[in-house]
Symmetry: C2
Subunit: 326 residues, 2 copies
């Protein structure tokens, strides 16, 4: 089986690649080849039991998507996107990559006679815009308040229509905020949700710019990879015509995050979190979804953590070799 | 004030033009010019108290939309679309006109510095796909089961995002099925809803291909024009960021339609309706929405008929000069 990952150099793409290398198979079928694509060339993973080709191009340039699918990969993971902040700052670039690029890819698959791959598309909870109900259900409407959210919602509609027409077999998944995000603190408005856990676990101070009552929706990087694997292998018939699913996650407050940190790593870890309220971030975060009822995805077998302690433990196991640095 | 109607040669476009000619004004402002555009040149209305320019072009050709908005019309009615059946039969054409054409238009407006017209976009209840609740509410998700529905749902997302970014001031309206549709019987699967009223009122036999228990969502052509006028003049601030509204309508069964016909035009009109069940049409119609809770539009002042007798009377007044032909 041949797997194509578009957006393979990003955090989720790298973790998905690691998992495929470890498993050597997907849905019981041996992986024989993987093509890893991004705007910058992805690193080839070490020790892969299958052939790996890495390549870099801009898939929103006409003709590039055709090259990616010309060898008819059996499963396509479409993870590539301009992120929210950049899509907001650069209107043209956001639409070019997130909408036109996605459509070029879908059309490149469509025009190949007799080729109907599984195509997994990562959408986002940014398709929802405030005001929300306490828990957003599976039938709530998508009224994004960012261009990124609009582009993802359009991708969902194209995915469903192209699937209904039989051009490919698409599954869209709306990822929760990934926590604990590995790496350095970044400037994303959502960065603090991870920073306040990751940094203290390594004995480093972290800044908390919002109040402890702020509630948000989380899943670990390991769960995100699990969602992708499950989306790649699930029986499309059981999903029906509504092809995009809100993934399960965990709704916790910042206070609950810190209590979990205390249970897992002690008071001295929590003491490293410095309160420094930032009105700009407080305002941005106030417009974000807080909780979901992801019944459909759960009933279809998607699984996420059910306690924040587990989310922290996943980070310690997967990123810190099982050892605390605090 | 200068008004541009794109899709002016269609039934709704013609009725809108007639109304503007009659009113001579929109939202209290005198109309000085109207530009009427379609893929075929619209007829210039008789007796218009303002200058009228008619023109034909394919607005999905690059550069055509720019020409349409170059003179900065104050209000743009975007009614142009490939209809459902054709968009399903010709995938490329549907996406080219309904998605690309719409986006070219939106971008043509976007790139003109300091130009922020009101833009009224006609969407459709085809954005919804079965299964539905008994009455589809304002926050129900859009999961279209046709390419036309997907294209309209994408147009709604673009409309909201371009409006949020300040490129224009968009209002989308999802029209009910227009009944009684004037003219000859056509081959649209929904045609019978109008045929069984319009034809008997003129003493002509009509075919009913479904059972009397079939329920559907209707508004008169006069109401459709009223929706457009209200959408063109409503205060955008009161609408907020959710720019597309399901229009009010009347949910009635075919049996209730026929009882109204009996009350308005007597037994001999109803006797002209011949039952001839068509399993293909029965199946198509089974997937259509039956009823809506259009609370938001009602609270914003959109108005429709509240009895099917009124819908029939509107047809008799507007199309038959007030006289029955049966």
């Amino acid at each position: 089986m041949h797997i194509l990952i578009i957006g393979a150099a990003g955090m989720v793409g790298r973790k998905l690649t690691e998992r495929l290398v470890r498993d050597g198979a997907l849905g019981g079928k041996t992986i024989t080849r993987a093509t890893l694509h991004d705007i910058v060339e992805p690193l080839a993973p070490a020790g892969a039991p299958f052939a790996v080709k890495t390549l870099a191009s801009d898939f929103s340039e006409p003709g590039e998507a055709e090259k990616l699918v010309a060898e008819r990969p059996d499963v396509i993971f479409h993870l590539a996107a301009i992120v929210s902040g950049e899509a907001e700052a650069d209107f043209d670039k956001g639409y070019r990559i997130n909408l036109d690029g996605t459509r070029y890819l879908f059309d490149a698959v469509r025009v190949i006679e007799g080729y109907v791959p599984r195509l997994v598309f990562t959408s986002s909870i940014a398709v929802f815009g405030a005001p929300f109900p306490d828990a957003i259900g599976d039938e709530f409407f998508t009224t994004p308040l960012t261009s990124y959210g609009a582009q993802k919602a359009i991708g969902e509609l194209l995915l469903a229509d192209y699937t209904r027409r039989g051009f490919f077999d698409g599954i869209g998944i709306r990822l929760p905020t990934i926590c604990v995000r590995p790496g350095k603190p970044n400037k994303a408005a959502s960065g603090f949700f991870s920073n306040i856990i990751r940094e203290p676990l390594s004995g480093i101070e972290a800044v908390l710019p919002v109040g402890e009552d702020v509630r948000h929706w989380h899943a670990s990087p390991r769960s995100a990879v699990g969602f992708l694997i499950h989306a790649a292998t699930i029986d499309g018939e059981t999903v029906g015509p509504r092809r995009t699913l809100t993934m399960p996650g965990l709704s916790v407050t910042v206070g609950e995050q810190l209590e979990a940190l205390r249970r897992v790593a002690g008071d001295k870890a929590v003491a490293l979190v410095r309160r420094e309220p930032d009105p700009v971030i407080v305002k941005i975060v106030a417009g974000w979804p807080r909780n979901f009822d992801a019944s459909r995805a759960l009933s279809l077998g998607f699984k996420a953590e059910t306690s924040f302690d587990d989310i922290i433990r996943v980070h310690i196991e997967d990123e810190l070799g099982g050892k605390l640095g605090v």
